[in-house]
Amino acid sequence: MKELRLMKGNEALAEAAIRAGADAYFGYPITPQSEIIEYLMRENPVERTGMIVLQAESEVAAINMVYGAAGCGKRAMTSSSSPGMSLKQEGISYIAGAELPCVLVNVVRGGPGLGTIQPSQSDYFQAVKGGGHGDYKLIVLAPATVQESVDYVKLAFELAFKYRNPIMILSDGIIGQMMEKVELFEQQPRLTEAPEWATVGKKPGRDSVIVTSLQLQSEEQEKVNLRLQAKYREIEKNEVRYETHLCEDAEYLFAAFGSCARITRKAMEMAREKGIKVGLIRPQTLYPFPVDAINKLAGQVKGILTVEMNAGQMVEDVRLAVNGKTKVEHFGRFGGMIPSPDEILNALEQKIIGG
């Protein structure tokens, strides 16, 4: 049954994992996302659905537990925040290389280093450009609301199994910590049948299943890479998701994702009140990126301002998409600082309209 509740972002996401029919969660505490594992431990889903939850000794161990469980054809997930996500990168690369499905959640906090526990979007590059070693891609979903945090968990498991690829939900400390009204989807059944690529024990008459990312022969490793690249092109064709606001008559454009897009939307409304015709594009998938949509809008507007809680990361992808058609500038606050709508409007006037 669908259900309406007032919930904290992290807890809603954890509840969504149970409802999405996840088989296993492995994690290690870190602010601002510890509520995910705390909620799961409290909820004890092994009794509700049979889902197992384990607190690992480190993020490194947690991602490798995910790797093991994912190789068994199970719906496995982990969550962390920035420093912990850095530790997981080798494991993520192995999972991408072995083409296993899994769901990763990064509730981003400000860095570099131990940084701050306050919200940030400074892990954009890490999420969309690979993060770990080797040529691989994650599908990156960027929720802007608690509702999207919930819905994207279900979507992430669907995409993970559709493409046999790790999926990242790139959230941040704002969305993780705030409370909002949320509609929870119905309990989904857990998987009952193991896919043929899963390690379940060798059955008579079939070869043993090997989960590996190793190919010692370069010719073979190139083939693996070509297969991965073909999959990524397919993902780019099928899975781009974005939202636009007031773009029909827009002379200027904001580009922002996640929590920052909500603040930017307020700035857009304030600009409209002043008679500035500005719209907003909010990528919901950061990879695949809405290249075509942005390129099309670039032909219509006089300039684009990306608003990010980082020193300028998505702006690079916007520039690539725009390909010189119009001016692209970045406005950001970082290190845990959150931009105000006033600041954003001011940046639009200074950097795009006046500049």
Partner: protein, 253 residues
Amino acid sequence: MAENLIKPENLVYEKTKVLTDRVMHYCPGCGHGTAHRMLAEAIDELGLQGETIGVAPVGCSVLAYYYFDVDMTEAAHGRAPAVATGIKRVFPEKTVFTYQGDGDLAAIGTAETIHACNRGENILIVFINNGIYGMTGGQMAPTTLPGMKSSTSPRGRDVATMGNPLKITELIAQLPGTYFVTRQSVHTPGNARKTKRALKKALEYQKLNKGTCFVEIVANCPSGWKMTPVQSNKWMEENMFPFYPLGDIKVPE
């Protein structure tokens, strides 16, 4: 005539079906090959082939999945116990083992080893201790003996600056999560048979869900040690065994 002797009733030994026909890449005389065979025979004799999931390490045995005819996952360097934990937690009824070298298990993967054992994961950990990093060309391992030469301890391991060899098996035996801990070798037929018995016990214990079983196999690395296979076995007996004495370290009450 030899043909007359080839009859099923005269068969005294054959290769276990749990080993594939692939030619192993191990150096001549290396302990890995015999250790593989003992584990494969143990799995076979207990009828566990269809329910076993193995985890290969990063090290010389990285390609173990080509030789064991069971479903296997290849883990990142040192992470096999975590990968095995993930597998065993979603498939508690399956038989799960890891097969790891000393660099993998006792250096980069120390945390995963200790914590999997401390949680008492119901898995078998097979630990090949050859006192050296075989795969990467003979560098110093956490188990390299004091004074022992390697490419990163060319004047011999100086414990004052390079630290002491880690007796991780004794350490593991202290943990309440371990159920059966033993140290064996495979350099003589008698020792190989003992190792197989230990592996069979460990696999049987896994069904009891009483905790981690840990079988160390002290092994030779002729290439890394720069010796012939015969020399290396002798050297192992004279130098490795006094430091890493063979025998059971923890047995179920």
